[in-house]
Point group: C2
Chain length 395, copies 2
């Protein structure tokens, strides 16, 4: 067999790390590797009841095809509730329901990127976004970050000199993988730069509502006067990911193109999932539910940071996110975290080596820790195990 | 606002017909325009019960992320039951769960097509497939059909002269839009040609099990010795489309690339939907369910053909499918069915004009009729209304 694949398909390689991380799914492993929400937060009883009711009472519609744009009452609720919370005035016409945030990234990639066009992102950034964009063969440029997110002056240098920039990708809230949040000032500047350089900003905010301070910053989209910002939100982290329901919010002209593309790539998102989520929001208090999630994650974050401070060598650098799912760890230059992971697995603990999150530089001394999906005892025990591996590299 | 879209996004145009067909969704319209299964066949009680049970008993898994490949027990069941019925010996390793057949078409397009590569399809063919492939800017070549499907001699002429052919797309069973089924002999020949010319065949079979004769032909995939055939099957027509669960069956090497692509475009298909379908199949008799669907559709097809024979002018040409959802109608050369549709909507009846299904030629005198989604009374009444419009062109 000798298959004539497309250029893109030829460039796909099996990821060694992905293969290793499959081991982290074994039940005996304490895994800080995934980005999974805590399944004990899922409103199981409520969703079970709703799903039965939706199918029983409306099955002829809920199990049938529906419009590509999505279920109108759900789009209205998202516009009115979720987007308003982020400071965005919008309406159902500017909301497209998608099959998870990842689909939004794919659609944006196709909407904007021709081969060798420049895509700007934070460095490091979400690997899944980079992989979605890479299907269009872009030139990826990573902008360094500090404690306030992407350094806007560095961004503007690129915008001022590179005329092929098509997209700025950012995760402003509790970024993946660093946990860093972009400051209010930079959000405003980024929206201004988008207009000035006529470049689209993709604002990906899966963690925005997982805010331990209850002080949600306005989204970049809220400062978008001219329609250059496309916002992506999701129910995966505030309700459950298994339903695959997320949304994009964009100016109508853009949304129409995204809708045509979505029609070509999967016709529509699940009619049933859309209705289940709509009826959950309508009947139960999702704000109270999100508060419960945040109470749990705050506790877990604290347990993880306390354990790191107690057991890790003093020189290890960490971020202290005030929301989201991840802590980012910087080790001594000479430590290769891919090698460290192999050793960690022999101690039944896992994390993600940082290298794959970087766009360009060959940085091997970082790792990402997730604190949402393991209980407090396991978090402490897992950090102890990693610290055992680290101590021999330090002092 | 002035957005620098990708070449593909710039080429997207709002479809005039699509806008007109939105009118066909109004409740007073007798619509033969869609391709929807009859919602009265959906096993509503059973699915309501199962969904509640799946969430209640397994919610922490059923609402969580899962592997891109899909739920293993469902993949095993598909390999063992659905694929065996089509004469294919395979295993779960060769099955990828996807979010509807449409996603399979998109994944295949990206797997194989670079700009200006040739894609061969039947002429006419499924518009949604053409649109998925068009996102990769191919050179589309349509092969004429007769009552036994794609004319294989015409196909081989193209294969023998065009070295850029990357894909042959076919709907061998009760084709959309014509209702025509590819003969056994041609299925074998097509599999041979795929090997001879090292070209992938995408065998799209959403209607294969909607067979009024109970005589299912072996799939093209069943004659595929060397792995050049990718089969796409779906639960949309034999259970319900609102769950968005379908599958691809391909040789492992190919399936791995498709899986990597799926991970980049939407991570995974709905965990919940996969489990609901799996438990339905496991607990209930899906073969009996499919028989009930076929009994209903056969009755509706007969009512439609009888009404056409009673009321349409004698010179109108129609196909007489022995399964699936569609009848294809050829009118006098001078009739433009897009214009006819506008008149039909004033009589509250709708169909799809045939032009968009053709790859190249400007053929305006065809239309597609769906008989699955309207009841018998409406089918007869709708055909009468269309015949009123037709009589003045004939005499």
């Amino acid at each position: 067999m000798e298959i004539k694949y497309s250029k893109i398909a030829n460039s796909l390689k099996a990821s060694e790390i992905r293969e290793i991380l499959k081991l982290s799914e074994m039940p005996q492993i304490i895994s800080f590797a995934g980005g999974m929400p805590a399944s004990e937060t899922f409103p199981i009883k409520e969703l079970a009841k709703i799903s039965k009711k939706v199918i029983e009472e409306d099955g002829n519609i809920a199990l049938q095809y529906t419009a590509t744009e999505g279920y109108t009452p759900l789009r209205e609720t998202i516009a009115k509730e979720r987007m308003t919370k982020l400071g965005v005035k919008t309406s159902a016409e500017e909301i497209l329901i998608i099959s998870g945030s990842q689909q939004g990234l794919d659609l944006i990639g196709r909407l904007l990127i021709d081969e060798n066009d420049t895509v700007i992102c934070e460095n490091p950034s979400y690997l899944g976004a980079l992989n979605a964009f890479r299907l269009n063969n872009p030139n990826l440029i990573g902008i360094p970050m500090d404690k306030d997110g992407m350094i806007i002056e560095e961004l503007e240098k690129v915008l001022a000199t590179d005329t092929t920039v098509k997209l700025i990708y950012t995760i402003p809230d509790f970024q993946n993988p660093t946990g860093v949040t972009m400051s209010l000032e930079r959000r405003k500047r980024l929206a201004e730069l988008a207009t000035k350089y006529k470049v689209i900003v993709a604002e990906d905010s899966p963690y925005g509502e997982l805010n331990f301070n209850k002080r949600t910053l306005p989204s970049i989209k809220s400062f978008d006067r001219d329609g250059y910002v496309i916002f992506i939100g999701t129910f995966s982290k505030i309700l459950c990911p298994g339903n695959r329901i997320a949304w994009m919010c964009a100016k109508k002209e853009i949304l129409e193109k995204l809708t045509q593309m979505k029609q070509a790539v999967d016709l529509q998102s699940s009619t049933l999932s859309q209705r289940i989520i709509y009826f959950y929001i309508n009947k139960y208090d999702i704000e109270a539910h999100i508060e419960n999630i945040n109470t749990l994650y705050l506790k877990r974050r604290d347990v993880m940071i306390n354990a790191i401070e107690s057991f890790f060598p003093k020189d290890v650098g960490i971020t202290r996110p005030s929301g989201g799912l991840f802590i980012w760890v910087e080790l001594k230059q000479e430590i290769d975290t891919a090698e460290l992971l192999k050793k960690a697995l022999t101690l039944n603990v896992a994390f993600v080596p940082g290298k794959a999150f970087f766009v360009d530089a060959d940085k091997r001394n970082f790792l990402r820790l997730n604190y949402s999906s393991m209980n407090e005892l396991k978090i402490e025990e897992g950090i102890k195990r990693i610290s055992k591996l680290l101590t021999k590299y330090y002092n």
